[in-house]
Symmetry: C2
């Protein structure tokens, strides 16, 4: 197995960082590694807003539900799906803008995620730790105002980067048989496998919290899907120009 595969498998989120800064040449190199990821139809539909200002970081940390690592990480970036940049040129080339279809939303969102994951891998290969911040979607309107995001651009997630000051355990993933199917989708028999996995996850939480908190994977994710999760997203995105046509 290559050391890169080992590196990828050793990922865990880091939420406590030393105050060591990231050298600017390295930071730029991480971004370039991100840009090298595949991009659908060569759209390059991602824009990163790097936040240095402590006050802005503090506000975003609060929006994200009080995640102090947004403030304390060496670098914090907001990854945006960007259809404006390309859309700017429709008029120039005498074309009408139609870039607000669901498909365009998917293309740009996937572009952002591929780029971000490359940056994560590049960062971890340099000894950095990372934490994605989906919590910015708690109030995407406020984040967009802070970052002055124009229409055609939406904040997908944030990312903290820094040198780790903690060494958490790796969180066990679902058995491969559950997520990898052959020829067709068939989940017969998965419940049995997941029941064992549920037990493993209960143990994981128990050992991390000294017995204080334990929940199975299936119960945890059932909760997520029983919530009207961030019901403002649709309206926010439409307002921002993503029409889901």
């Amino acid at each position: 197995m290559s050391s890169v595969i080992e590196l990828l498998k050793s990922h865990r989120s880091i939420r406590k960082f030393t105050d060591q800064p990231i050298k600017s040449e390295l930071f730029e190199d991480l971004v370039k590694a991100g840009q090298a990821a595949a991009t659908s139809s060569f759209l390059q539909g991602s824009t990163i807003v790097r936040i240095v200002n402590a006050e802005t970081r503090q506000q975003i940390a609060e929006i994200a539900g009080g995640q102090s690592h947004v403030v304390t990480s060496a670098e914090f970036m907001v990854f945006c799906a960007d259809l404006k940049r390309a859309g700017n040129y429709c008029e120039e080339y005498d074309k009408s803008f139609e870039g607000d279809y669901t498909e365009h939303f998917i293309i740009a969102t996937v572009d952002v995620a591929l780029m971000a994951q490359n940056i994560v891998t590049a960062a971890e290969s340099e000894g950095l730790g990372i934490c994605y911040i989906g919590g910015i979607r708690n109030n995407p309107g406020a984040v967009s105002e802070l970052l002055r995001l124009p229409k055609g651009v939406y904040p997908v997630f944030g990312l903290c980067l820094g040198y780790p000051d903690q060494n958490p355990e790796i969180k066990p993933r679902l058995p491969v048989s559950v997520i990898l199917k052959e020829e067709v989708y068939n989940d017969t028999g998965d419940r049995e496998v997941i029941t064992e996995y549920d037990q493993q996850i209960r143990e994981y939480y128990r050992s991390r919290t000294g017995g204080g908190h334990e929940i199975s994977w299936s119960e945890q994710v059932a909760s997520l899907l029983s919530e009207k999760s961030r019901p403002h997203m649709k309206g926010f995105l439409e307002e921002q120009g993503f029409k889901f046509r």
Copy 2:
């Protein structure tokens, strides 16, 4: 710069493969490297359907617009966003299912992309080449039928993996200043930088096609956003249970 950053920066899509197979232990290891990627709220909302059957591959190649590498690659997988797996447990835990919000769609789509990009990096670190196949979204209904995808699951993209039988040039990306912003989104001055980049991309296409085809980046992406791109996606996704509430 780490060798991992060099690896990431050396990415280009491969569309011509040798007939060397990928050893099954390596293939499973790639999938595990994929699973190690971050997953929002621990949802693990991705399912991979691995396609070996030549007839199915042929049908998908045609759906994707005649991409023969879907047939000739050592491995071809369809990456699916999966809210069914977690949704299955709502009833078991006496919860009502609400997992059809736009937010859930974003979570699962991003989960899939992060996992896939880890698999890509793992594969490339082992000397494999890859090509994403967004073209499966030309007819996501037909793909879903072939793969018997249930409601709550949608095919995001395909991925070809195999040992490269070509060595294409790396496609130049936008200058960092265009995609990385400080504190706020500000694209003043970007047109000038992009005009230079447009010239670079014209040269890239000219050298690859012996002068036959040349288009600037801005014109290419303006075209994409002037198309009613895959207008069936919204209806397909709603049918598949993603309601964009």
